[in-house]
Structures are given as structure tokens and as C-alpha cells.
Amino acid sequence: MKRVLSNKWSIMVFVLPTVLFFTYIVIIPIFKTLWYSLLNEIPAKIGDASHFTGLEHYITMFTPGRRNPFPGAVVNSLLYAALSIFVQLPFSMLIALILANGAKGESMYRNTFFIPVVISSVVVSLLWGRLYKGLLPQIFESLNWEVPKNGFLGNPQTKIWLSFVPSLWQYVGYHMLLMYGALKSIPEDVIEAATVDGASGAKLAFRIQIPMIKPMLKVCLSFSLIGSFKLFDTPWVLLERSNRDLPALSMYVEMFTNHNYSYASAQAIFIVLECLVFTVALNILFRDRDERNLRRRKELT
């Protein structure tokens, strides 16, 4: 059997098509983007005038200036990541804990909370757009509250935060379900033992339940982080035309409105780097804890 399982030809048949396809469509384009980002402009646009300029675009990207929105865009994407990690995930966790610990109507709530996830994000954006532009101002006026100057989506202070809300809202159910599943798979006896010892509610959650689903938390965190840096759909529909206040939006405008293909490529590479850096950081963070926990357990035994 070993012979069969190590047969070079069959291995190639199984693996090679996928690897080649993947390399051609994903890996090579990324390297091409990287190459383009190091030129002054791509040959398709300016022919022979195209030449190597190294990190020039990356420096331009971060040169402060009234007309350069990119540093602000990066900050906004970090803000979204922070909101996602420190508001959306804890909120999802709270709901997951409540439901996993057996609240009344558990399965009904669980099913309904997931519904926003299956609605198209374009639909979500359009609905929230009508809400921000139509319904919310009317509610505010009837309550005699002041509507932000220029409207919710026009006011420079509020519009970015508000453009985050629809996608944060939409995916609460997604994270909640993942955490719920993980919580439900904690062995019953562990919970019982802890309850007998007097732990309940918050103590049970923080000391026992949350630590035991760390692998799932890691999954949720990485989905969340990567999603934050490439956020595009909802703000594109909600915000004004050619808005550049998020990295993915900026890249899109540079590419298709301004036709600065190399510059846009540099921004694209930056987004990839953001994802890479934070994924690695996440792995390191969780690996340390795992090692520390392993060591601690060894000490106890």
C-alpha cells in the first residue's frame, strides 16, 4: 500500500492541478502587484517610460498632506479592527454565553441571530443607507435631538464610524455561532465541577468557559482582523463617490478613477502586509499563551 500512496504520478494528479491553478491565479498576481508597486507606472499605461522606482510609492502613500487620505485610511482600518475586536467580538461572546448557558428560547434566538449573515451585504448597506439618510434623522427630530451637521453620512466626524456599523452588525451572528458551538463542546463534567465549586455567571465565564474555547477565539480573531483590513463592500455603497477613507476604497479609487495603477498596487501590497503582520502577531500571542498553559499544567502534575 505504501507504494500506492507514494506513487509519484498519482500524487501529481491529485495535487498538481490545484497547486498550479492556485499559483497562477493567486500567487503570481500578488507578485505582479508587488512588482508594479515598485515601478513609477505600469508599462501598459505609459510604455517605455515605465521604470523602477523602488519604495517611492510607499513613501508617497505616507507623506502627510491635506490631499493624502491614505494615512487616515490606515488609521480608520485599525479603528475598525479595534471596534471589531473590542466591541463586536465581546458582544458576540456575551450572546453566545447567554445562549450556551441555557436561556429560554435558546434555539429560536440562535437561528434568528444568524439571519443577518445570510443577507447580501449590498442589501444590508442599502437598507442602512436609507436608515441613516431617512429614518434616523426623522427619529432624532421627533425626539428633538440634534442631527450631526451635514447629515449622519456627510459629517466628517461620524460618517466613518457609521459606515462600520452595518458590517459589524451583520457578522455578530457569525461570530456568535462559532463561539456558541465551541462553548457547547466544553465537556459537561468540567462545567459541573466548576459549578459545584461555586463558580457561576461571570466567574464561570471568565475562569472556565472563555479560556477553554481559545482555539475558536483565535479563529474568530483572525477572520475579524483580515476582514477589517480589506473592508470594502459596505462603505463603498454607503459613503460618497470616490471616497478614500479606507485602504481598500483608496486602492479602488486610485486604480479605477485616477488610473494610478502602480500607486494602487503599492496600497494593495500594504493591505496584504497589514494582514500578514497581524496574523503573525496573533499566532505569536496565542502560541505564548499555549506554551505557558502547557508549562503550568506540567507543573501541576
Binding site: A44, R66, P137, K149, N150, G151, F152, G154, E240
Partner: protein, 413 residues
């Protein structure tokens, strides 16, 4: 011998059939058009134009692909990069056209344009489509912007239709005092704001200086008092509360709803807006020239033929493509004007059923000049900039002076 004769006869027949077949093979041209939505004013006339073409030119078959205007802008640019634009396609003129011309994607039509054909165009029709003496597009419509006044509301509140800028400010204040939002504006899409700023600054700067800036000629500059005054005049409109407070988050469509409902009396917009008015509204709305400022530029207009049909440089059938291009442009000009979708770019006897459109046609024919809008004459990042900067002025985040400074950067710092 008989067998040989039979074979020769058979071969001859075959050859004959083949040549007949190929002679009857119509030339197939790929065409890209916008107005994919049923609600587009130009769609019905275009369908009529296409039907007329089928009748007039059975030897040419058009395969039409319909797009939404913004989506086509993006896709067309990307197709150009791989040299795969269709044979004949809709495109804007000015800087947007120059983009494709400079990368060699458009066929120059000079050889096909006989004097006979050129005489059928209105004066100055090809100004925005000619680069270095070569003509790259044929227009199907003339464009211009003006002030649309809902006379019913003006009468109701006893306001005079403004003929000078001061009267405009007075009208704004009068409406505001009566609790009516004076002017419609879709700031979220940015270019509707340019409709206002281009016209206002034109009154202060004059079409020569403005043309120099939008076409980036030697010595042009935004850093003059005239430009600052122009933008300051726009800022005054904002400060007087002429626009809805949330104008900046509205798309053009959203912003026009109150106007259609008879809630907002004034709107500065392109001539196509007259085609969007319902029959009832067409009786109430009066289209007037933008108010005067008194610096001698008051009979100048923004606009000019800025859209048309072009031929791809790498088309396999240039002769047929030109025939199609010219036919589409000329007949769409007639058909569009007839049903009030636009102003004609070709000389025509056709009458329009829309009174508002007729008012505009009449006034613009008496105008001194037509200048292409900044965001169409400029291209790429520059066009984006002139939209972004007026957006910021509307939001109140930059001053008129800063607007001039930011716009000055298009000349390469």
C-alpha cells in the same frame, strides 16, 4: 470528358455559393452603449436609432451590449488596457477621451469625415473631441447646464426668478424664511456640486481663463482673485442655507426627489434634467440662464458636446465602423432631441415636445460660448480632485482659498 465537365461545374457552383454566401455575410460590429436602465431618457431614442440603422444598413449587423454609465466608465478603461474595446462605443469627450487616445485605443476619423458630413454638425461640435487636429469622436448630443425654476413655488411665495447673483441670494433668503429648501444638490456624487461651482466660477473668471485651467495650458493658474471670488460666492450660497443640510450625503437621485415633488424650487443641472421632468412638471418649470454677475462673462455657458461615439483603433472593419458611428451619432441626436432627452449636436429640422428643452435650446443658441465642465475636460486624478475639493467646500472643511491651492496642484506643484 463528361465527368470532367461535371466536376468543373460542381466546383464552379460551390465557389459561386461560397462567394454569394460571403457577400451576403453581414459585417458584425460590437457596440457598447450606456442607458441599460429602462428609466434612462436616452434609451428609447437609442432603440429607435438602432432600428433605423438595421433598416438603412442591412449589410452591417450591430451587436449591442448595454451598460450602466458609471460601470461602463470603469470597464471601458480596463478593456482599453488589453486592447479589447468594442468596434463602436459610447464615450465621454475631453480628458476622458484623451486618456484612450493617448494610449492608442481610438481611431482618428479625419479620413472619413468629408466636408459634406462636417457641415451637418452644429458649430464647434468637435471642439472637445479633436486633439492635435485629429478627430476622435462624433457627438450625439450637445450639453449645457442652466437653472431650473419651479414657477409654481416662485409664484406661491412671491419670489422673483433671479437674473443676477444678488437676486439669487435674495431668492434663497426668501425661500429659506418661508421654510422651503431653496436648491437641490446631490453632494454625495460630487459632480452635481461641480455643476454649481463650474457655472458660478465661470461668471467670475471668464471662459478663457477657465478653459486654460481645465485644459491645463501653459500659464494657467487657479491662484487668482477671480477664482477665489467665484468659490466664495458658492460658499455664500452654502452659508445662506441654499442647500439641504445633508446635501453632502445624498446621491443625485435622492436629491432630485424633493424637486420632482414640487418641494424645492431651484436646481442647477445639465440639460438632460428637462427630460426627467414629468409632463406636469414640464409645464411648471422654467429653464433660465445662470444669473449674471456683471463682469462681462454673463452670456457664457458650461457644456458643449461632451459625449459621443468612438471607433476602436484596432477594429477589423474601420469603414463599416465609421458608417455605424456616424449614423448612430446623427440619428441619436435627432431622436434624443425629439423626445427631449438632449440637445442636438447635428443640424436638424426636428422639433422637441418638451417645452423646457426648447427653452434651453433657444437660449444656448444665443450664448457666447460653451466651455466643457472641469471634471470632463480634466481626467484621471485631476478630475477626481475637482470633485473631492468641491465636496470639501460643501462640507465646510476647506476654504475657497484652500480650494484654489488644492486645485493648483494639478499643474504639477
Amino acid at each position: 470528358m463528361k465527368k470532367l465537365l461535371a466536376v468543373v461545374l460542381a466546383v464552379a457552383m460551390l465557389l459561386g455559393m461560397v462567394s454569394i454566401a460571403s457577400a451576403e455575410e453581414p459585417v458584425v460590429l460590437k457596440v457598447a452603449s450606456i442607458w441599460s436602465a429602462e428609466t434612462e431618457a436616452n434609451r428609447a431614442p437609442m432603440l429607435k436609432t438602432l432600428a433605423e440603422f438595421e433598416e438603412a444598413h442591412p449589410e452591417i449587423k450591430l451587436e449591442v451590449e448595454w451598460y450602466e454609465a458609471n460601470a461602463w466608465k470603469d470597464q471601458g478603461e480596463t478593456l482599453a488596457l488589453s486592447d479589447s474595446l468594442p468596434d463602436v462605443f459610447y464615450w465621454n469627450a475631453g480628458g476622458v477621451l484623451w486618456n484612450l487616445v493617448s494610449s492608442g485605443d481610438i481611431l482618428a476619423l479625419n479620413d472619413y469625415l468629408t466636408d459634406d458630413i462636417k457641415d451637418q454638425l452644429i458649430g464647434g461640435a468637435l471642439a472637445n473631441m479633436t486633439f492635435d487636429g485629429k478627430i476622435y469622436q462624433l457627438p450625439y448630443t450637445n450639453a449645457c447646464s442652466c437653472l431650473y425654476c419651479n414657477t409654481e413655488l416662485f409664484d406661491k411665495y412671491g419670489v422673483k426668478i433671479p437674473e443676477t447673483l444678488d437676486e439669487l441670494y435674495a431668492a434663497v433668503e426668501a425661500f429659506k424664511a418661508a421654510g422651503v429648501t431653496p436648491m437641490a444638490l446631490g453632494g454625495g456624487d460630487k459632480w452635481p456640486t461641480n455643476m454649481y461651482t463650474d457655472l458660478i466660477t465661470l461668471r467670475f473668471v471668464g471662459d478663457e481663463a477657465a478653459r486654460a485651467c481645465y485644459y491645463k495650458t501653459e500659464g494657467a493658474t487657479f491662484m487668482t482673485q477671480d477664482w477665489i471670488d467665484g468659490m466664495a460666492a458658492f460658499k455664500k450660497l452654502i452659508d445662506l442655507g441654499a442647500f439641504p443640510d445633508n446635501a453632502i450625503e445624498l446621491t443625485r437621485d435622492e436629491s432630485e426627489v424633493p424637486y420632482f415633488n414640487g418641494e424645492i424650487p431651484m436646481y442647477v443641472h445639465g440639460q438632460w434634467f428637462s427630460g426627467s421632468l414629468s409632463a406636469e412638471m414640464q409645464q411648471k418649470v422654467k429653464a433660465v440662464k445662470f444669473p449674471a454677475v456683471g463682469k462681462g462673462y454673463d452670456n457664457q455657458w458650461m457644456g458643449g458636446p461632451a459625449e459621443g461615439f468612438s471607433v476602436a483603433a484596432y477594429t477589423q472593419h474601420p469603414d463599416e465602423a465609421f458608417i455605424a458611428c456616424q449614423f448612430l451619432a446623427q440619428h441619436q441626436s435627432d431622436n434624443g432631441f425629439e423626445c427631449g432627452a438632449g440637445l442636438p449636436a447635428w443640424k436638424t429640422e426636428v422639433q422637441c415636445g418638451n417645452p423646457v428643452m426648447n427653452q434651453i435650446a433657444q437660449q444656448v443658441a444665443e450664448g457666447d460660448s460653451l466651455l466643457l465642465w472641469g471634471n470632463t475636460a480634466l481626467s484621471g486624478a485631476d478630475a477626481d480632485l475637482i470633485g473631492a475639493t468641491v465636496y470639501d467646500v460643501l462640507a465646510g472643511t476647506i476654504t475657497p482659498e484652500q480650494w484654489c491651492e488644492d486645485m493648483e496642484t494639478i499643474f504639477g506643484k
